[in-house]
């Protein structure tokens, strides 16, 4: 952001506003985190506590004690990782095709891809369900992963990114005797790492947090993803009891996301602010 020099008061005001917003945003998360270390019985009486005792690890032990949690975590990891890798590969290849090759019907095809951006998920979930039911593919990893691979956003992002890479770099590689595939993997892909990281993070987070499609597709608890599994352990609707356990589940489920964030912070910031990291 560009701030005028010498406008100190204005700077402070903006800073104060930003800090206030950040506190308002982070407070519930801290609260969740604090509650996850409280005994359930205590929380049945009052929840307006944060840092004062009593503390307990029982809620976390209970999660580990729920036999299926590890299975669900593995499921989530398998689904999110495959989905991310496959999306990166497909979106890159398609984007490269759109950006750098000429073929009949290219514009129409690209328009169809873009049109896909405008279709809301809820609109296709019923037909998707019917299709996978017909194929008898529900309760498989393929069912959890495949529908999410048709990601117009990724194709669009990579197309734009590849278009921005100077053509003469590729031409230099052609004169350097590199084949199309070699150019793609040795020159273009390394140059698109910032875009790959952005797309990868978004895809991973989306996949990890996905709830609707797993809810529709996975009916067998063995095939639950973590979001689905944890939700299924909620015993009562208003959650008047077992609150600490619920909070611990929330914290547990967001750990991988947190870790991803720690590692890719600079790419996420860049992606959200619309800049690229070099």
């Amino acid at each position: 952001m560009h701030l005028k020099v010498g406008n100190k008061f204005g700077d402070r005001l903006i800073l104060a506003a930003v800090i206030a917003l950040a506190i308002a945003w982070i407070a519930p998360l801290v609260w969740v985190f604090a509650l996850s270390f409280k005994p359930d019985e205590f929380l049945a009486q009052r929840t307006d506590v944060m840092l004062s005792p009593p503390f307990t690890l029982k809620n976390y032990l209970n999660i580990l004690g729920t036999s299926q949690v590890f299975g669900w975590t593995i499921n989530s990891l398998i689904v999110a990782c495959t989905q991310t890798l496959a999306t990166l590969l497909l979106a890159s290849l398609a984007g490269y095709g759109f950006a750098r090759t000429e073929f009949r019907g290219k514009n129409v095809l690209f328009f169809i891809v873009l049109a896909g951006l405008a279709v809301p998920e809820q609109a296709i979930i019923v037909p998707l369900h019917a299709m996978f039911a017909d194929l008898q593919m529900h309760n498989t990893y393929s069912a959890l992963v495949l529908p999410r691979l048709a990601l117009p956003f990724g194709v669009f992002l990579m197309t734009q990114y590849f278009k921005a890479i100077p053509k003469d770099i590729e031409e230099a590689a052609m004169l350097d005797n590199a084949s199309r595939l070699k150019i793609f993997f040795r020159v273009i892909l390394p140059l698109s790492i910032p875009a790959q990281a952005t797309l990868g993070i978004f895809t991973f987070l989306n996949a990890w947090n996905d709830y609707l499609w797993p809810l529709v597709s996975a009916s067998n608890p063995e095939m639950y993803t973590l979001t689905l599994g944890l939700a299924s352990t909620q015993t009562n609707f208003a959650q008047s009891e077992g609150l600490g356990f619920l909070m611990a589940q929330a914290v547990f489920a967001s750990l991988p996301v947190f870790i991803v964030y720690l590692f890719f912070q600079k790419y996420i910031v860049a992606a959200v602010s619309g800049k690229t990291v070099r």
Binding site: E171, A172, M174, N177
Partner: protein
């Protein structure tokens, strides 16, 4: 046949004819410069030789081999791009080695060639740097190095100096000349800078609208431009052009009358000139000199602008009919703006152009 041979090259983009029936024999070891205004097709021609662009018709032969339909990498030609086109994610060393690795040159041979090129181009301390960590001039040297290590049959340069500042451009130009003397490999160089063309070329191809206007050694092109286009394009400041009428002269040479009535007896032989009476007289600033307005046979006018460059002075003289001519006066010329002066004309150094732009010169004098 060795060298590079372009036979009847056509290039069309859709219905637009960019290059038309282009014929050129480039000799081995030659430093050939394509010179021409923007958009005349220089890059297109270069890219067709490199294989980055298909020809619409015609054939390209390199060292006797028909390469017209070969992939760029298979033509044994290296190209240096205007914007360097280095691989941003690779070190200088890898930038140079990439092409060699792709064709399976043994490791120590790669290392030998890269080190040698690095020494020649003063890149040794930079070998582990990435392109972003270098100046424009250094990047340009890496781009040249990447071409050199391939030991190609020919080098192509597409305006390689145009991104450098004036001082660096001058230095790099000299380095290129040295490189050519050292490697003795064919070099083809595209520019629209006539100084680069004049200083580097063994031969210059002056292009206009996809055609060759003239092909010749630099001094030949300077002293005996084939067309009015070439005459106006080469030389700075540009040649002066005046519309003239041909008049009868009994001695076998052409005499002309200028718009203000002055007659000029040229040394251009009358034989061979078309009989039309409207001609254009061309004369370079250095073939004009400043005299007194009262002298006979001078063009009279007022000095409008006087440019003093230190070693020489250019006076822009407005003639009586309003036309401007540029005169190269001596460094110590005392002419100042507003002076009424006479412009003398070296009759042996004038050129005549007919209405189609074809040039007629004074009797051949030896050119370097």
């Amino acid at each position: 046949m060795t060298g590079i041979n372009l036979r009847g090259i056509d290039k069309r983009y859709g219905s637009v004819d960019v290059i038309n029936n282009f014929e050129l024999q480039i000799n081995p070891g030659e430093f050939l410069v394509f010179l021409g205004p923007s958009g005349c097709g220089k890059s297109t021609l270069m890219r067709m030789i490199a294989g980055l662009e298909e020809v619409s018709a015609g054939e390209i032969h390199v060292a006797g081999r028909d390469v017209t339909h070969l992939a760029p990498g298979a033509r044994d030609i290296a190209m240096v791009f205007q914007h360097y086109a280095l691989y941003p994610h690779m070190t200088v060393y890898d930038n140079m080695a990439f092409g060699l690795r792709n064709v399976g040159v043994p490791r120590d041979e790669i290392d030998r060639r890269v080190q040698e090129a690095a020494r020649m181009l003063e890149l040794v301390p930079l070998l582990e740097r990435k392109p972003v960590e270098m100046s424009g001039g250094q990047r340009q040297r890496v781009a040249i190095g990447r071409a050199v290590v391939k030991e190609p049959l020919a080098f192509l340069f597409d305006e390689p100096l145009s991104n450098l500042d004036a001082a660096l451009r001058g230095r790099t130009r000299i380095e290129l000349a040295r490189l050519h003397q050292r490697l003795k490999t064919t070099m083809i160089f595209v520019t629209h800078d006539q100084v680069e063309a004049m200083t580097l070329a063994t031969r210059i191809v002056v292009m206009n609208a996809g055609r060759i206007e003239q092909l010749g050694r630099p001094m030949e092109i300077y002293h005996r431009p084939a067309t009015r286009f070439v005459a106006g394009f080469i030389g700075s400041p540009a040649m002066n052009f005046l519309d003239v009428d041909r008049i009868e002269a009994p001695n076998g040479f052409v005499a002309v009358r200028l718009p203000d009535g002055t007659t000029v007896q040229t040394s251009v032989p009358a034989a061979g000139l078309p009989t039309q009476s409207k001609l254009t007289l061309g004369v370079r600033p250095e073939a004009l000199s400043i005299g007194a307005a009262e002298e006979s046979d001078v063009l009279v006018g007022n000095a409008e602008v006087v440019e003093r460059l230190g070693d020489q002075t250019f006076a822009h003289i407005a003639l009586r009919n309003g036309e401007l001519v540029i005169v190269q006066a001596g460094a110590d010329s005392t002419i100042s703006v507003g002076d009424l002066v006479g412009v003398r004309l070296d009759h042996s150094a004038v050129h005549l152009f007919d209405q189609s732009g074809i040039a007629y010169h004074a009797q051949a004098r030896s050119v370097a």
